[in-house]
């Protein structure tokens, strides 16, 4: 039938336009009428997310993993869910490793780094394909080779995962054409979409392969580099957190004291198994050990043993198995010959009978008995013996004991003070662990327990602040200060690396660097300001009100000292409630631990009480660190004074009297000793090579040119005509005066003034070194070591603390560490860089395909029907 177009047109004009109804969807109708049955519309979509969606994606992914786990436990999971569980297993295993190593590591930073390492490893696995593959590919080829899509079931998958199954329908024509344009594919080619798809597929396969080949190299390197870069910021973060915690701890000490019952539990255990046992030497030793186990004080245990022995010393007696056996054995022996053996056996009780008598009948067994009670028991026993003889006679009339025999028995056994019975009763003289004694011991144990808990917190505080370990406040401060000095002095890492083999090249490097700084006023000011600013931070990190060296600038009793006094006074007071302190009870242990026999003096830990050891240790650590850095400031000041050549600041050189060559030797040695000298060098008053035949007539001054000392005679490398001079008075005196007695430069004072107490402390430090270490007549003697405070206020320890660490050694160590880090970084940083470069460059070669021939333009449209013929 031919369609009548005009009729249709008229019909549309006459029919009123009706509102188009929504098609009704009836499932039953659809099911009955199978011709309409067709696959449901796909609901897949390409996932387009950015970094801001990451939290939502992560949350959804975690939820999906939990759901997958739940399904898998029930045995209902699908392939996609099982794949996710592999990732979950990997994360759980990773956490297991990090968790285990967390407990193996010692410091917070190393502990944290275990988890940072795990996180960075997973991050690297995820980031490498994004940085090295996805982003470059997008820039080069114009599409995302790691595009993800969500299928109709809501499962997220990589689009190009399986090149044999690519759901191209998710890309619209517009998107594909846009990608094609970006790839430079001509618009007019045959099957343009298919060609673009083929090209995209090829590029994706190539990129996925590249990913597989490079990920193994990249992930560990990238992860290690991330950790390396995070170490410093994390260190700073932890350090600041630790500092806040410590400040809080010292001000809220009681809140931090743990409630451990370690000592109480140990003592209770000992008491429970030794109830009513004699307080023997061994038992007292055991108890004392338990109470002092956590105290590092060397003699605490011995002193407590002495005190406990004294405390439980007694005049009382105890009847025990030894007493019983002695009474029986000696009685039998005494009666030998008085009566027959048969009668002895009959009238002398067995150990069991006698024990039963003392224990069950009388209650004397294993209790402390006063001498009066012993006498009473002795009389009771006399009566008992008489009754026993009478009973025997009643029962054995044929073989009875005669009156004479009876009288002899009484005489032998109970009529005299030294009879076998009395000897037996007085055999054992000691205290027993009775209820009362247990009570006393428990109270003493509680006092030790409280002391332990408080000291635990104090030790934690001291360790975190000043411990000789990584990551303490003082250690972080030390590292940061060395860093600052290196940067301020513009010492290049390469220079330190070259010099890292030995102290001498490091000392040369420092000397030349200090010379350079000192040669110019502006540089000197800038460098010293920077260094002083960092050094002064110590007083902010470890506040003087909390902990103080009490030497460079005493500021009264610090918080820590007050706290230690409170703890040890509290301990003494607690012990005082248990024993009679005035009678000297527990005197030994209290002297050992708590009582200050005399006020401590430099070097602080002198009188040896446990409390003062804590105080002394803190002061020494703090002073040692400060001295090390003040030494560097002093060295810079010396270099600057010498560079200026101003006689006002160089009296130590005795400018008018000494030969010029000697002056040059002294100047050079002063510079070197500031950088390198150890305490041993001060004991020997320095060994130095000098020219003994210096020109005495040339007493001119050392030349200065552009801020540098120019030597006329001295050459450090020239050893001819030089002799080794120990104990060289001139040299020692001059060097010490030049270094520590000559006035500070006003420039230096001006720089240090703004940093609160620094100038005062620094001046005190110089004075002390000069008067204590620069003492020409001081040669260490044995009594200085054994009784440092008694004979002299100076010993090797004082010198050591005041001199601090030699800068060349400090920078030698720093140089070695710098070299190690830089070497590692250079190897693996380069590896990572080269890998990234190769991975990116390789992508320019990907996706090469021959273009299909373009569709020829038809010049004569009328010839178009010919195509039909071709087909």
């Amino acid at each position: 039938m031919v369609t009548n177009l005009i009729h249709n047109f008229i019909h549309t004009q006459n029919t009123p336009a009706s509102k188009k109804e929504k098609p009704k969807f009836d499932i039953h109708h659809e099911l009955k009428n199978k011709t309409f049955m067709r696959p449901l519309e796909g609901e897949g979509r390409l996932i387009r997310s950015n970094i801001f969606d990451a939290p939502a994606i992560m949350a959804r992914s975690a939820f999906y993993d939990i759901k997958a786990l739940n399904s898998a436990v029930k045995g209902e999971a699908n392939d996609h869910q099982l794949g996710k569980l592999n990732d979950l297993g990997m994360k759980i295993g990773g956490l297991g490793i990090a968790g285990y190593l967390f407990y193996k590591r010692q410091t917070p930073m190393t502990k944290l780094m275990e988890f940072v390492g795990l996180g960075s490893f997973f991050a690297s696995m995820a980031l490498w394909p994004k940085i090295a593959i996805q982003i470059p590919a997008r820039i080069i080829h114009g599409f995302n080779v790691q595009q993800q899509y969500e299928d109709s079931m809501g499962r997220k998958k990589p689009f190009f995962q399986d090149p044999q199954f690519l759901p191209w329908d998710l890309y619209s024509d517009e998107e594909i054409n846009k990608i094609g344009d970006r790839m430079g594919i001509p618009r007019n080619i045959k099957n343009r979409r298919e060609f673009i798809q083929e090209k995209m597929k090829k590029i994706a396969i190539q990129n996925n392969t590249l990913w597989m080949l490079t990920a193994g190299f990249a992930t560990p390197v990238m992860s290690a580099l991330i950790c390396n870069q995070l170490e410093k910021p994390l260190g700073n973060f932890l350090s600041s957190k630790r500092n806040k915690q410590n400040n809080h701890l010292i001000n809220h000490f009681k809140d931090y004291v743990p409630k451990h019952n370690t000592v109480i539990n140990k003592v209770n255990k000992i008491l429970s198994i030794n109830q009513n046992q004699p307080l023997s030497e061994d038992l007292i030793k055991e108890l004392a050990n338990a109470m002092t186990e956590n105290l590092v004080s060397r003699n605490a245990t011995n002193n407590l043993i002495k005190d406990l022995e004294k405390l439980f010393e007694t005049q009382n007696y105890v009847i025990n198995s030894n007493s019983v056996n002695a009474i029986i054995k000696d009685s039998k022996k005494a009666l030998k010959g008085v009566v027959t053996d048969e009668i002895i056996e009959q009238i002398v009780p067995t150990p069991e009978q006698l024990t039963r008598y003392f224990n069950d009948e009388k209650g004397y067994y294993l209790t402390e008995l006063t001498p009066a009670q012993i006498k009473k028991i002795f009389h009771e026993l006399g009566g008992k013996i008489r009754n026993t003889i009478d009973d025997y006679n009643k029962n054995n009339p044929q073989n009875s004991i005669t009156e004479k025999q009876k009288s002899n028995i009484i005489k032998k056994l109970i009529s005299q003070e030294k009879s076998p019975v009395m000897n037996g009763l007085r055999l054992e003289q000691y205290s027993v662990l009775s209820g009362n004694n247990q009570k006393v011991i428990r109270k003493i144990a509680t006092a030790f327990n409280n002391l332990n808990n408080q000291l635990f917190t104090v030790e934690k505080y001291i360790f975190n602040q000043l411990g000789e370990a990584p990551e303490t406040i003082i250690a972080d401060y030390w590292n940061n200060t060395i860093d600052t000095i290196v940067k301020a002095a513009k010492i290049k890492p390469e220079q330190l690396e070259k010099a890292r083999g030995d102290r001498l090249p490091v000392a040369n490097l420092l000397k030349s660097s200090f010379d350079k700084i000192a040669s110019d006023k502006t540089t000197y000011k800038a460098v010293l300001t920077q260094i002083a600013s960092q050094i002064s931070k110590i007083n902010g990190l470890i506040k003087k009100v909390d902990v103080n060296d009490d030497f460079l600038k005493p500021t009264g009793t610090s918080q820590l000292d007050k706290l230690l006094d409170t703890i040890f006074n509290g301990f003494t007071k607690e012990i005082g409630t248990i024993v009679d302190l005035k009678a000297g009870e527990m005197n030994n242990i209290l002297n050992e631990l708590a009582q200050s026999v005399k006020p401590y003096s430099f070097p602080y830990s002198s009188n040896g009480t446990f409390k003062d050891l804590y105080k002394g240790m803190v002061r020494q650590r703090l002073l040692g660190v400060k001295s090390s850095f003040y030494r560097i400031i002093n060295a810079l000041d010396l270099h600057r004074r010498l560079a200026l050549g101003d006689k006002e600041y160089m009296h130590g050189l005795r400018l008018d009297n000494l030969p010029r060559e000697t002056k040059e030797e002294i100047v050079d040695f002063a510079k070197r000793s500031g950088i390198s000298a150890h305490s041993a060098d001060f004991f020997t008053k320095f060994f130095n090579s000098i020219n003994a035949d210096a020109d005495e007539y040339d007493v001119t001054d050392i030349w200065n040119r552009k801020g540098y000392n120019i030597y006329r005679y001295f050459d450090e490398h020239k050893t001819i005509n030089r002799i080794e001079m120990p104990q060289d008075k001139t040299l020692f005196e001059s060097v010490m005066k030049l270094q520590y007695q000559d006035r500070l430069l006003s420039e230096t004072e001006d720089i240090l003034k703004p940093f609160n107490d620094m100038l005062t402390e620094f001046k005190k430090y110089r004075d002390d070194i000069y008067y204590k270490v620069g003492n020409l007549h001081y040669i260490e003697k044995i009594h200085h070591k054994t009784n440092p405070d008694g004979m002299c206020d100076l010993n090797d320890k004082v010198i050591f603390e005041l001199l601090g660490a030699a800068p060349d050694e400090v920078f030698l160590k720093y140089g070695k560490q710098t070299f190690n880090t830089r070497k590692w970084l250079s190897i693996f940083g380069k590896t990572g860089g080269i890998l990234l470069g190769v991975t990116v460059l390789a992508q320019f070669l990907f996706g090469k395909m021959k273009l299909p021939k373009p569709i020829p333009r038809l010049r004569n449209p009328q010839k178009e029907p010919d195509k039909e013929k071709v087909k």
Partner: protein, 342 residues
């Protein structure tokens, strides 16, 4: 065998399989393989050599036949290279360090390297703690391999080698297991459902079932899912235990004498003996802890977590949520209820 379809009609390509060619192939159809050491070794070597040679070459060229199997097989490349790299990151730079620093860094780096090895070994072999008991108890070998003959598109008109062999596992996909390979053919002389009969018997569903395959398939799926779950979780916990074991101090004694120069007989013998001695001491130190008591608890915690995950995994596999089919189907189906057959 299908030969390439040439676009050039003048080529007069023969559209038929060449019987003589087929005989040269190891497999000419998908073939179930025995799961024994020899097969596993052969498959492992095949996959490994392809993963480092053929597949990367195909992938880098963007070959249109590259597929997901090849991509997955290549997955072992980053594992192996990554392991080596991880060892290098912690050890390679040490040789440039000063002796003291080297001495400090050395044992840590070596423990790390040993940890990488133990991780791989523990992860791989711990799976047997789940799969072997499951196989014994249920008769289902979740690792049962088969060779899949894959037909590819020819690279060009001269390309006649268009088949490739892939090694898969029958239960690799729980949604589409290769049930067909488990039916016995008549040539074997066994009943068609012999495999399913055996599993049904092991699972306590009875013998001489009419349709043992239909009875057993849902149970097998459940077993495979649960076994995969147990493998995935437990293997990583065992791997973590391996790493923890490698971080024990006694290994340092082994590192002091260790050499790989097997031709130096005495030294190598000493290495082997030191290895086992250190292994024993490390196990002890791992279990009883080194230094802090936390490490003891963590060590035991990790060990028991790994043991527990394998054990509970097997228990979970055995506790089926599917009802055993002891009843006639007529009794199970409720006649009043509407069912949709799919």
């Amino acid at each position: 065998m299908i030969l390439p379809v040439g676009s050039n009609l003048n080529q007069k390509t023969n559209f038929s399989a060449d019987e003589t060619d087929e005989k040269k192939l190891k497999y000419n159809h998908d073939t179930l393989l025995r799961n024994n050491f020899s097969t596993r070794f052969r498959i492992g070597m095949d996959k490994f050599t392809n993963a480092i040679t053929l597949y990367p070459a195909k992938g880098l060229k963007g070959n249109r036949n590259a597929n997901f199997y090849e991509f997955l097989t290549m997955g072992q490349v980053p594992y192996l290279i990554g392991s080596g790299m991880l060892m290098a990151v912690f050890n390679y730079a040490n040789k440039y360090f000063a002796p003291f620093a080297r001495q400090k860094a050395g044992p840590l780096g070596k423990k790390m390297a040993l940890g990488v090895i133990f991780y791989g070994l523990a992860k791989e072999y711990s799976k047997n703690l789940v799969t072997t008991p499951v196989h014994w108890l249920t008769g289902v070998d979740t690792n049962l391999p088969y060779a899949k003959v894959n037909y590819e598109l020819p690279d060009d008109i001269y390309d006649t080698d268009i088949t490739s062999i892939e090694y898969h596992k029958v239960f690799e996909s729980v949604e589409f297991p290769r049930w067909d390979l488990l039916y016995k053919d008549s040539a074997s002389g066994k009943p068609r459902n012999a495999y399913y009969d055996k599993v049904a018997k092991k699972l306590g569903l009875g013998t001489n079932l009419k349709d043992s395959d239909q009875e057993v398939k849902p149970r097998i799926k459940e077993i495979v899912v649960k076994t995969n779950l147990a493998q995935n979780i437990s293997s990583y916990l065992w791997a973590a235990t391996g790493v923890a074991l490698a971080f024990q101090k006694p290994w340092e004694e082994f590192f002091n004498v260790a050499t790989l120069k097997f031709w130096q007989k005495d030294k190598f013998k000493q290495t082997v003996s030191a290895f086992f001695k250190s292994l024993l001491n490390s196990m002890e130190s791992f279990y009883y802890g080194e230094g802090s008591k936390h490490s003891k608890y963590m060590g035991r915690g990790l060990l028991f977590a790994a043991l527990g995950s394998s054990f509970l995994g097997v228990i979970n596999v055995m506790s089926s949520s599917q009802k055993p089919s002891k009843l006639d189907s007529a009794d199970i189906i409720e006649k009043e209820r509407k069912y949709v057959v799919n």
